[in-house]
Symmetry: C2
Subunit: 310 residues, 2 copies
DNA sequence: TCAAAAGTGTTATCCTTACACCCATGT
DNA sequence: ACATGGGTGTAAGGATAACACTTTTGA
């Protein structure tokens, strides 16, 4: 039917932003209310597109230029309505990347490492302790608590796919969070009454931690085939710094030699000519991103060379 | 700020669906108004989630069970508002897959091959004539029409990335449509006054052809790493039929032997034991999709083995 | 007997992973 | 001198793309 025929009824629309920056080689997100909320606000109907509305609004709130922007997902679950006095809300969430490489000692208030919310996602120092000590045992208990053998088998398989060490896939951030939610192991799963003894990992209000998980998952998948890491880097950088950045996002260590080879084989960067004599050891060549690559190829990203354990 | 503090203002929300079925080995989408519109309607606020709302509404409209469903994108461009008497509209679009393998001679009214809208996307019979005869020459003229050399170079590079025969990437459906739109070669680009001598390929009202392009692009990308083709197949099928289905979606021919190998190496299907004696030639074994695979592996799709030209 | 589609086996090539090693600087 | 990170070369393994060929049916 043509849209003019049955006119949609009014519903409130809000925007949410997962705003990411690399600060001190740590992936950080901009939060409010002591880390319990993502920045969010009403969609102003007077912008030509959603993107420009989002952009204007974020830049007004944060005073930072916003680099890459991408839509994440639109939620309209009834649970949100309940939490906000009954009015139905459609919330459109965005991922935004910004350059905010502050090396100052104290973090700016509002920026939080995303691993505070998902400690089991950080494999840069090997298997995270919280995973083997807490997550896995609790999941196993959840499996055993299933009513019938079929349900138990299904739960076990889902755990294996998403959490097995041997086949860990860093892109499954959202699926893992949703599984933990379903298993009742995160505080947000409780609704009114609190969850008894929840897992480590800071909760957020409403469904904001789910939105954050969506953003992280999307970004982790994206860096593999599009050169978005560079939106988070300073203009000049060493290959070592670039590797640290990718490792921070992907949450796992990379194989140094192969990482370097992949980067320059793909022609993603070019030498500036200068060198940086910073952290101990031999001075490193400085590179910059070759923006032309965006016009040269349809796909080009920082493939992730594996690295066994640490 | 907490959502409760600055309450969003009401805006109309509508749903759009790109509903895909394989009919006579042709990828078809459900349309209204003689193919000029995608099915769309208001978002009913009384469903627990957007997905269930969409599902209920599509099944009511089409009387077909809806298989796989996935959100595509949320648009809220002002251009839409103008087209619908000034009220701001947020439109949330979905991709839906349904099983509708009608081998009847005449097509059901409402189902249209998606290549009617994007004839340059069908490479199953080699390079499409419309591409070399019409699209490329017109794009070249558009390049030459650029004001300065820099703009010309930029246009040329975008054409090369998206349309070059040698490096044709079937996933770039949306980018290609947007480039043609920008170049003023499709009727929708005109606004009030009609575009002079537009390219072949049926236009749609509003931004529905863009939404369709988004859906096709998403589906083409998805079949490579998730086994969604099977949502479009009958319960039992031959490997030949499966290949035809994938070719129809991807819009290009595949290498037979390698396709077969990939499918069973991945354990996506199992023999039913029966054979089908249909189209001339040796009878083919029948297979069915192994649903268990969804629980066994995080990624599993029908990789696309290339095939040089025809 | 031949066309047409099903189905099997093998090879060349490229990309990923891994390992071994040298280089340049500060302490 | 040695610790630290930068930087290079090369070999093993696996996956993809391509080729050649056999099998089983209907006309």
């Amino acid at each position: 039917m043509p849209p003019a025929a049955n006119r949609p009824r009014p519903i409130a629309v809000e925007l949410n932003a997962v705003l990411v920056a690399l600060i001190d080689d740590e992936p950080q997100v901009l939060t409010l209310e002591d880390g319990a909320l993502l920045p969010s606000g009403p969609f102003e109907g007077d912008h030509p597109t959603l993107q420009t509305g989002l952009r204007a609004w974020v830049e007004r709130q944060t005073h930072h230029p916003l680099g890459y922007v991408e839509q994440l997902y639109t939620f309209a679950d009834r649970s949100r309505a309940a939490a906000t006095s009954g009015r139905r809300i459609v919330s459109i969430s965005y991922l935004g990347l910004t350059r905010e490489r502050v090396t100052a000692s104290g973090h700016e208030p509002g920026w939080q490492s995303w691993y505070r919310y998902f400690p089991w996602e950080d494999w840069r120092g090997g298997t995270p302790a919280v995973l083997s000590r807490q997550v896995m045992p609790r999941l196993r208990r959840w499996i055993d608590a299933a009513s019938d053998p079929a349900a138990r088998r299904s739960r076990r398989q889902r755990m294996d796919i998403n959490f097995a060490e041997a086949t860990w896939n860093e892109d499954l951030v959202l699926q893992r969070y949703e599984l933990l939610y379903e298993a009742g192991l995160v505080p947000e799963a409780g609704g009114r009454r609190p969850v008894a003894d929840p897992l480590p990992g800071m909760p957020m209000h409403y469904d904001h931690r789910r939105i954050l998980a969506t953003g992280i998952a999307r970004l982790r998948a994206k860096i593999k085939y599009r050169p978005v890491v560079f939106e988070l880097m300073p203009p000049d950088f060493t290959l070592g710094q670039l590797q640290l950045a990718v490792e921070a996002l992907a949450g796992r260590p990379l194989h140094k030699q192969n990482f370097r080879r992949l980067i320059d084989q793909q022609g993603l960067v070019e030498e500036t000519g200068a060198v940086s004599a910073e952290t101990g050891g031999r001075p490193a060549k400085l590179y910059r991103f070759r923006r032309e690559i965006l016009l040269e190829r349809a796909v080009a990203g920082s493939k992730l060379p594996l690295s066994r354990s640490s």
